[in-house]
Symmetry: C2
Subunit: 303 residues, 2 copies
């Protein structure tokens, strides 16, 4: 979506506000998967097949780490290799960790990383405070990455919790961007665990509610299914309808315009009945051209 | 020296007590250069040309880190690549850091690492408390690795300080080993910054003094020069004689027997005048055979 928007308008005018509740600390390193995926994607450095991490990656450190894993005592999670960190990717975590240890904010570090990749866009973590998504599975809380990567989201989620969210505040940079932009686009991402943490901060949600006429959402669900990830199943598991209408119900309070896929054209009236404008178009971004067209549609929707 | 001792006796009977005052935290990772050098050496995995780090190493992470270094703000040391950490070597630091974060002691982590490499020897950090060598250069204190690696020890040292040494205690495992062993060998290492931190802990030094007749030292200085590193210059800079006699003066209070090289045979009487037995032999371990012979000499010296 960000690539599409960057093709549709001046990339330097774009600010991405990114979920940090997927962040984790592993091997002592601060890892921000969503920030890095956005950065690497915009830098055209993401591995196109995996969809995460860097292209031309190698795995020497992880391969070497496997030597130590069998020797850890029971109960220890040290030396875990299930969360695969490539050799090139590790550099990003080393830099981030060193800067945070020096007292920099995640916002500052992210700006430095973005600048290192020569990106014209602004990328902002939603907050500088630590927030950690946990999911309840079979009655027990599990860290998000353990669920998402460890189990490959193969288990049913009973509840979601954003630990630390009460203490977290959106940064001033985030609030300024949301206050002043002519158009907020909610990307087609998991409404519960990717967009959800942002909405769980009242100050952020309030700006969206107040600027509802400037907010356009793109449905992450097409014909009842998520194109990527567990959003569809997770919606069902947590009592939502896994459809454009189910997502529209979540977004209606702060989103005036909802873009759904051609395949869901028959649900457009139900979306409109929720008090939203509904735009029906091709939302499956299988080429740069479709992405750019969708970017234009989103920006023009409120123009 | 440890290889020579391991060839001269049952390796499982050997305990190495290792300096940890060279330890540092970089990129959020706990790095113990001396422990790792001992481990990699005994595992025959050390790079023979560099003399540190692992053989068959690659440098992808450090190469990638260089992208970020120019973007750090002035005053920041994040993203530094002057302390070169190989991709394979990084795995050791990741494991150590994760275990220390879990509350393990450095002694415990080291035992796990040793076990992972299948080593029969015991390797003990001198203490589980953080101690950091600093050197004063031109009136300003500098962290040891900055001096040793950063400047390649090319600057004159005015003073040495082991920050944290007052709070540090040798571990029980270290004291037990020193109390019970029939023979303590002081390896030919820098007397001031490699052996010095151990001696700076009164509890450790006291055991050596009490067991002086069980302690044999090997001179790190041959014909007035260190075979490796800045020990000779550092001795001069700090007011010692850069010779076997200069080192013998430091060791005499807790070391009954001193092994010096054939090239220093003419100084043997001066060593003896300090109240030490003096053995003159080939101490330049340029082959496994010479190392083993030196190991045997050291062990037999007290037999």
């Amino acid at each position: 979506m960000l690539r599409g928007l960057s093709a549709a308008t001046d990339p330097a005018s774009i600010t991405a506000i990114v979920n940090t509740a997927d962040d984790t600390v592993m091997h002592g390193l601060n890892i921000s998967p969503d920030l890095d995926t956005v950065t690497y994607t915009l830098a055209e450095a993401i591995d196109p097949e995996r969809g995460w991490g860097l292209v031309n990656e190698s795995w020497r450190t992880m391969e070497s780490l496997a030597r130590y894993t069998p020797q850890r005592p029971s109960g220890s999670t040290a030396g875990g290799t299930w969360f695969n960190l490539g050799d090139r990717d590790l550099a990003t975590h080393l830099y981030r960790t060193a800067r945070l240890d020096e007292g920099a904010t995640l916002t500052e570090v992210t700006a430095e990383i973005i600048s290192s990749w020569g990106l014209p866009q602004t990328i902002l973590p939603m907050t500088d405070a630590p927030v950690r998504t946990r999911v309840r599975v079979d009655g027990a809380w599990m860290a998000f990455q353990e669920y998402f990567v460890g189990t490959r989201h193969s288990v049913a989620v009973e509840a979601i919790d954003f630990a630390g969210i009460e203490q977290a505040k959106p940064t001033n940079a985030v609030l300024d961007a949301l206050h002043t932009t002519p158009c907020v686009v909610i990307a087609p991402s998991n409404p519960l665990v990717s967009i959800g943490p942002l909405l769980a901060m009242p100050q952020l949600r309030d700006v969206l509610v107040r600027r509802r006429d400037r907010v356009v959402g793109v449905s992450p669900i097409v014909a009842g299914a998520a194109l990527k990830g567990p959003a569809d199943r997770m919606l069902v598991e947590l009592g939502h309808e896994p459809s454009v209408v189910g997502v529209a119900r979540i977004y209606a309070p702060f989103c005036s315009t909802f873009i759904i896929d051609d395949q869901d054209a028959d649900r457009a009236d139900e979306v409109r009945a929720l008090g939203m404008r509904c735009i029906v178009t091709d939302t499956i971004m299988k080429s740069p051209e479709v992405s750019a067209a969708l970017g234009r549609t989103a920006l023009e929707a409120l123009a």
